[in-house]
Amino acid sequence: MYLGIDVGSVSTKFALIDENKRLIFSLYIRTEGNPIQAMKRGLKMIREESSFPIRMKGVGTTGSARYLAGLLVEADIIKNEIISHAIGTLNFIPEVKTIIDIGGQDSKLIIIRDGIPIDFSMNTICAAGTGSFLDHQAQRLGVSIEEFGDYALRAKTKVNIAGRCTVFSESDMIHKQQLGFSKEDIIRGLCEAIVRNYLANLGKGKEILSPVVFQGGVASNRGVVEALERQLRTEVIVPEYHKVMGAIGVAILAMETTHKEKEFNFSVIDVDFRTRGFECDGCPNQCEVIEVLREDLVISRSGDRCRRWEVGSLEKTSAFVEIERG
């Protein structure tokens, strides 16, 4: 069995697959701003809920906290989310040509030809058109995020909402709301705006061919799915395991790299992991260095530009000793 863990900004995903790349167990929980706690919580749930004995052959991590997660579970492979998503989707839908992924904090577009990812784009500066924004607006309108999509499907008229920027979008929404448009119409307008923004930002210069697969947390939102189909003028496939596709992908990658059998150590749940940040005062760059500690032992440092704080080679330097004392 192989485990894939995808630690994203908003949610943490776990996927267990067997030798035949079949999904046995999956789990989707909220990260709540604390990736370490979220991982421990998830692992605990896997241990408790799985009625079968788990013999893990490999573990892979992905997502924006992949390095931290990889340290925690001593992963066999740490891969970026683009490749993981592509591998995961190709396993279920081998003929896919375009993957659209809208997650909590970022969105991606992956172009696949003949079963190989050949091009990708990621949203750059703006968070408009991601899950967090939808979450925020759902809260503001007093609609739970699960029902959000269904509201859009019930809309009767088309309301145009600016989707370029969350700030404009929000003020536009309030404006339309005050004019008397119904919640349903506004939500549909919002779904349209998000898709428009996505296609304008990420789809620029890219050839979007069908079959198109839509995944990530926002794919649960049927309003956005419909808006995508309308604007792309093609059918959009939402795979069954769309929420955990990245985790499945990295589990498959772990399978491709490791062949040694070992008992997965669930004891990491009880090990004390901490992170500690400090500002290096070696030069005016003032890099923010982040340390990961396992039971008071520093196992990793990152964030320094000059590599002065790399673990291992620099423990001996006087600067380090001084900081430890201070």
Binding site: S64, I83, D114, I116, I118, F120, T124, I125, G205
Partner: protein, 355 residues
């Protein structure tokens, strides 16, 4: 009177020997750090590009060190860069710096003016001496560029890239210490040999070409050390755009530029100013030389390079070469950059394996 000018890469070493030869007191601006960029961004207009902000930061820090004569490069007309000097001068005055002069360095549109300004700074200087100084400066610029190019083509072939970096640092110090042509040549040969010995040519690395806006391409502090990151991932980086390349263009009366413009004509009919057409032409050449991918970098909201981007999309399609677009400003996160670079490199590796 003490002069200074903004940084770009390691070229301050060459300017140092120029000012030394023409006997003008020069002190390099403090190295670019987070503080430099923050200072620059604080006093810059909101939508101006990153090179402006970093340059301004450099100038402020130089003035803080007691410099009273500032040079700013930039010939008029390439892009808004041409007007930076005047705007930056006003901003510096508004901040409260007084009693400083700001001069356009090497104005290609008005060489006579540059000469008379130099004469006013050091009346004793003869035209012969100026030529001598320029020759040394060009030689140094050339050496600096050659060394960086060697580093780019050595790193993926060695097991420990940090050793190559320390060799490079030592060599830069050597360049700084030498003002003699023969010595410079000897040191370069030695450096070349030591790098060649370290290489293991059995490795077949990925080859990626970098094109884009000149400052962001040449100043590692503005692109979050893109080249070093790629080198550490075992990628051989190709980057034709250097200062010596641009100087050659000037010396050959813009003929190389015309060649590039013609090359890019199928995609860009008109000159998009600055380096836009050259970026496109270089990407085409990379594709013809069978490189695996191209990375296009630009400061956020750089007009000429935005023009180049849409043409590059077509180049990418026609030549079947993947292009990654990256845009930098002072908020760009290194984590996001790393994810994109990793994904791009991985993608190219998979693509290469399958063909």
């Amino acid at each position: 009177m003490k002069c200074s000018l903004p940084h770009m890469g390691n070229y301050y070493l060459a300017f140092k020997s120029f000012f030394k030869t023409v006997e003008i007191d020069y002190s390099p601006a403090p190295p670019i750090t987070k503080r430099t960029i923050e200072l620059g961004a604080k006093y810059s207009p909101e939508f101006v590009c990153l090179p402006f902000k970093i340059n301004l930061g450099n100038l402020i820090e130089a003035l803080e060190e007691g410099v009273d004569l500032l040079f700013q490069s930039g010939s008029r007309g390439a892009c808004r860069y041409g007007s930076y000097l005047d705007l930056q001068k006003r901003i510096l005055e508004d901040i409260g710096f007084k009693d400083f002069r700001m001069i356009r360095l090497f104005d290609t549109t008005d060489i006579g003016e540059s000469w008379s300004q130099l004469k006013s700074l050091n009346p004793k200087i003869s035209f012969f001496e100026l030529l001598k100084a320029l020759r040394l400066t060009f030689a140094k610029i050339n050496t600096i560029d050659k060394a960086e190019d060697l580093i780019r083509h050595t790193k993926p072939y060695v097991s420990k890239s940090s050793e190559v970096e320390s060799l490079h640092q030592n060599f830069l110090q050597d360049i700084d210490r030498t003002d003699n042509f023969r010595e410079l040549k000897r040191k370069t040969e030695k450096f070349k040999r030591s790098l060649k010995e370290a290489r293991n040519l059995n490795i077949q690395p990925l080859k990626i070409g970098i094109v884009g806006e000149l400052y962001v391409v040449m100043e590692p502090n503005s692109n979050l050390n893109l080249e070093r990151q790629l080198g550490d991932m075992g990628v051989e980086v190709f980057r034709p755009l250097t200062l010596s390349h641009m100087l050659k263009d000037f010396l050959f009366l813009g003929l190389p530029r015309r060649y590039y413009l013609r090359l890019a004509r199928p995609y860009l009919k008109f000159d998009g100013c600055a380096h836009s057409n050259i970026s496109v032409a270089e990407a085409m050449l990379f594709a013809k030389h069978k490189l695996d991918g191209v990375i296009h970098i630009k400061p956020h909201a750089c007009m000429p390079e935005v023009t180049a981007m849409s043409a590059l999309c077509n180049v990418s399609k026609d030549y079947n070469i993947p292009v990654l677009f990256l845009s930098f400003d002072e908020h760009t996160s290194s984590v996001g950059l790393k994810t994109r670079l990793e994904a791009f490199v991985e993608l190219l590796k998979r693509k290469k394996k399958c063909t």
